[in-house]
């Protein structure tokens, strides 16, 4: 059974996020002075083929830990999961 997942990988809170910083400091010049705390992370969408949703989810979590993120500096979050009609 195939499921489509959305995973978000983001820098741990407290860690410097140069990208977020750059966006934040660019906005005022463009007229937006009301934006703050910008953080930029990765958004990964993928399809996992497994017997059950739990199985797929378990595998995805391991993938996220081992490949999609480096736990030393990043957290990951599985956002959504939906079955892919065969």
């Amino acid at each position: 059974m195939k499921r489509r997942f959305e995973v978000v990988v983001s820098l741990r809170p407290g860690l410097l996020d140069p990208q977020g910083k750059a966006v934040e400091s660019a906005l005022p010049a463009m007229g937006w002075t009301n934006v703050s705390d910008v953080r930029v992370g990765k958004h990964v969408v993928l399809t996992v083929d497994a017997d059950s949703e739990d199985a797929a989810r378990a595998q995805l979590e391991e993938m996220s830990r081992r490949l999609l993120s480096n736990p030393v500096i990043e957290d990951f979050r599985i956002l959504t999961s939906q079955e892919v009609p065969a």
Binding site: G14, L16, D17, P18, K21, S25, V72, I73
Partner: protein
């Protein structure tokens, strides 16, 4: 957590004696902020407490040396009113857990060492040592480290022009990541403790990134004592680099130096504010008053000790005469950098730190910066060294097929082309790269002159394991030889000394022997030590790295148009300069064909070595040479093959009948080079060689699509090229 049980100072890495010493200095118990400051400043990393007495024995004087060890970088005079600052550093421990950011912040740190001398960074080099690429984790480490070095170096516009990559099992758990930066400045613009006078009342201006909870590392135990469980989650010891901020910091710092607005300039590296403020004060023989309320914070809830020890990247500390403060702030604003007037220099030697109007720490600046503990640790040679020496591969019975052996050695990851690595680096930016990666040494033109700097980094892990004295001496000799092969004259070195745990007598013995070897070689080659860095504790569980003193050599070529390359061209006569002895101990051939790392490293005649360098320099000046390439890993066979591959032309050589083929081809005897000359210049070269007392042999001719090793075997250039260029890509593909 057991840490909670033991006394605070121990949790901070201070011994009971060191703690008593602090109490003695202060005449009272330190408060926790002060304890945190001593904890970081008296750490091995900042205080050099185990290495100091040995480092003192290194030769540091030289006619060209303007600034020796002790400041952010060494500085050498290259004439025409110009000075070159250079320094090497390790970032191995951070890279082992987060290769990209670990290596990237390593580049940021070494670059700031150079700009704090008022010099513009013009070149980077990156000697790297990993475990075998057959393991997935080692591939991940190499990919991440290389991407991180490129990610930072490419983004700040400093060309990465050289380095090296070697592989050995002990680096699987302890990747060794060294980075070297070279910068240039007009002599009068240098910002050194001797070239600039700091005055009482001078202002300390902090500029660059804001301060966050970065690299608090060990000191965070202080936090875990005051905050609930798991709170240290938010106290990561890994720093994130911001190369864009780093680039702005370079431009702002150099503009400050150019406009002569500085009395002093310090980068914030290890131990952050604590180190920068105490060193600035101690160097000026003064005290300082610091107001932490002024420090721009990234997050609001930092504790005092965190602000004091944070290793947030991309920050600098300027010492400025009061009348020039506004001008300094303007320059920083122009480059979009945050600034903070931190405090001022005062008479006496007290470092007085206040926050919210109350004194949070008050200690003698010198006691942090200069008066840390110094240890004369026990030395003892490791067991089994004698046995290793006994089992000398030189006398092994060799059954290998010569052609197979050649392709195996040429295809060794320690020998093959690292193009896959160095193509990920911008080696061209700034427009001065005469010779980039891929030859013996890099050559970087000095803008506005015809001179060029020659740069090479080298370490000899296998030799060091078998004999740390010879290992270090060979590293110096090979680095100098690489530089000399371009026609340049070796001037001075920097180094990064990578070792295991100094509290183990075997490691300390390896360290002491390496220092001895480096010192002797530097004296003999007249290349004084201008600075460096010591990285201990490259050890996990049972596995310590081999003694790995990495040498960064700086040389000068009077006219870059005289540069010699390694590439053959067709129709030339090939000479082997120097003598080949049966010396296979610790050789590439022994490791990869005979599968043993044993015996003794080759002997090293430093007088002969220097004569070879002078011969090449004279031959270059006389425009005699078409190519020159030193013999190192893989011996004569690899030197010939690399010159042939580089030039896209083959060769035919004859082999002496009375010496075993594997000695002639793979012995790693020192002080040798393969050069090629136009036939009409052969006689001149021979005369010059004799004048310098360098033995020579005309061994063959260049040309054709094949490498012909007498009647022994032949290899098509294309086949050799595939082995040489294709191995690393294939290994990385997994």
């Amino acid at each position: 957590m057991t840490a909670v049980a033991e006394p605070l100072h121990r949790a901070l890495g201070l011994t009971d004696d060191e703690y008593d010493r602090i109490v003695g200095t202060l005449g009272r118990e330190p408060n926790r902020n002060e304890l945190a400051m001593y904890g970081v400043m008296w750490s091995e990393h900042c205080s050099y407490k185990s290495s100091r007495i040995h480092l003192r024995t290194l030769p540091t004087e030289g006619s060209a040396v303007l600034v020796g060890p002790g400041q952010d970088a060494g500085v050498v005079d290259v004439g025409e009113g110009l000075a070159v600052a250079f320094k090497m550093e390790s970032h191995s421990h951070p890279s082992a857990i987060e290769p990209y950011q670990g290596a990237a912040t390593g580049i940021g740190g070494i670059v700031r060492d150079i700009i704090s001398m008022g010099a513009r960074p013009i070149a980077l080099l990156d000697p790297l040592y990993f475990g075998p690429l057959t393991e997935h984790r080692n591939r991940w480490l190499l990919e991440g480290v290389v991407a991180g070095i490129g990610g930072y170096g490419n983004c700040i516009g400093v060309p990465t022009v050289g380095g090296e990559v070697r592989f050995a099992e002990p680096h699987s758990l302890n990747p060794t990541i060294n980075v070297m930066c070279v910068g240039i400045a007009p002599r009068e613009r240098l910002v050194t403790s001797t070239s600039r006078q700091v005055h009482e009342g001078s202002i300390m201006v902090l500029f660059g990134a804001s301060t966050g909870r970065d690299g608090i590392g060990g000191v965070s135990v202080l936090a875990s004592r005051t905050l609930e469980e798991g709170s240290d989650e938010s106290r990561p010891s890994v720093q994130i680099g911001d190369p864009f901020a780093g680039k702005l910091l370079i431009e702002a710092s150099l503009e400050l130096a150019e406009r002569d607005l500085l009395e002093g300039l310090q980068d914030l590296g290890g131990a952050g504010l604590t180190c920068a403020t105490s060193e600035s004060a101690a160097r000026a023989g003064m005290g300082a008053e610091i107001d932490l309320d002024a420090v721009p914070l990234r997050q609001g809830d930092l504790e005092v000790f965190e602000i004091l020890t944070s290793e947030s990247q991309e920050r600098m500390l300027a010492i400025v005469e009061p009348s020039k403060v506004d001008a300094v702030l303007d320059v920083c604003a122009k480059w979009g950098l945050a600034t903070a007037v931190l405090g001022r220099m005062v008479a006496g030697d007290g470092l007085r730190i206040t926050m919210g109007g109350t004194v949070v720490a008050e200690v003698p600046a010198r006691s942090l910066a200069d008066e840390g503990p110094v240890y004369d640790r026990a030395l003892a040679p490791p067991d089994g060294l004698a046995a290793l020496h006994e089992d000398d591969p030189t006398f092994a019975t060799v059954t290998a097929d010569p052609r197979e052996a050649f392709l195996t050695v040429l295809g060794s990851p320690n020998v093959v082309s690292m193009r896959t690595v160095w193509e990920q680096y911008d080696s061209l930016v700034q427009g001065g790269t005469v010779l980039g990666p891929g030859g013996d040494a890099a050559l970087v033109r000095i803008e506005g002159t015809v001179k060029a700097l020659a740069l090479s980094t080298d370490a000899k892990g296998r030799f060091g394991l078998l004999d740390p004295y010879l290992g270090a001496a060979h590293a110096v000799a090979e680095a100098a030889r690489n530089v000399a092969m371009t026609g340049a004259t070796p001037l001075a070195i920097t180094n990064c000394l990578n070792f295991g745990n100094p509290e183990r007598p075997e490691v300390m013995w390896q360290f002491a022997e390496s220092i001895r070897g480096m010192a002797d070689a530097c004296r003999a080659l007249d290349t004084p030590v201008t600075g460096g860095n010591v990285s201990f504790y490259n050890e996990s569980g049972a596995s310590a790295i081999w003694p790995t003193p990495t040498i960064g050599m700086l040389g000068l070529l009077e006219d870059h148009r005289l540069a010699i390359r390694t590439a053959f061209s067709a129709g030339r006569s090939v000479y082997l300069l120097g003598e080949t002895f049966p010396e296979l101990g610790g050789s590439e051939f022994a490791e990869i064909v005979l599968c043993t790392i044993s015996g003794r490293p080759p002997e090293l005649d430093l007088v002969r070595e220097r004569a070879l360098h002078r011969l090449i320099a004279d031959a270059a000046r006389a425009v005699l040479l078409v190519s020159a390439h030193d013999c190192s890993d893989g011996g004569l066979a690899v030197a010939l093959a690399e010159s042939a591959i580089a030039g896209g032309t083959g060769f035919a050589i004859s082999l002496p009948g009375d010496v075993p083929w594997y000695v002639t081809l793979f012995s790693e005897s020192a002080s040798r080079a393969v050069v090629s000359v136009a036939p009409e210049n052969a006689a001149k070269l021979e005369v010059l060689a004799s004048e310098h007392g360098i033995p020579f042999a005309r061994i063959g001719e260049t040309g054709g699509p094949r490498m012909v090793f007498d009647a022994l075997f032949e290899v098509d250039l294309a086949e050799a090229d595939d082995v040489y260029e294709g191995t690393i890509p294939r290994l990385l593909a997994g």
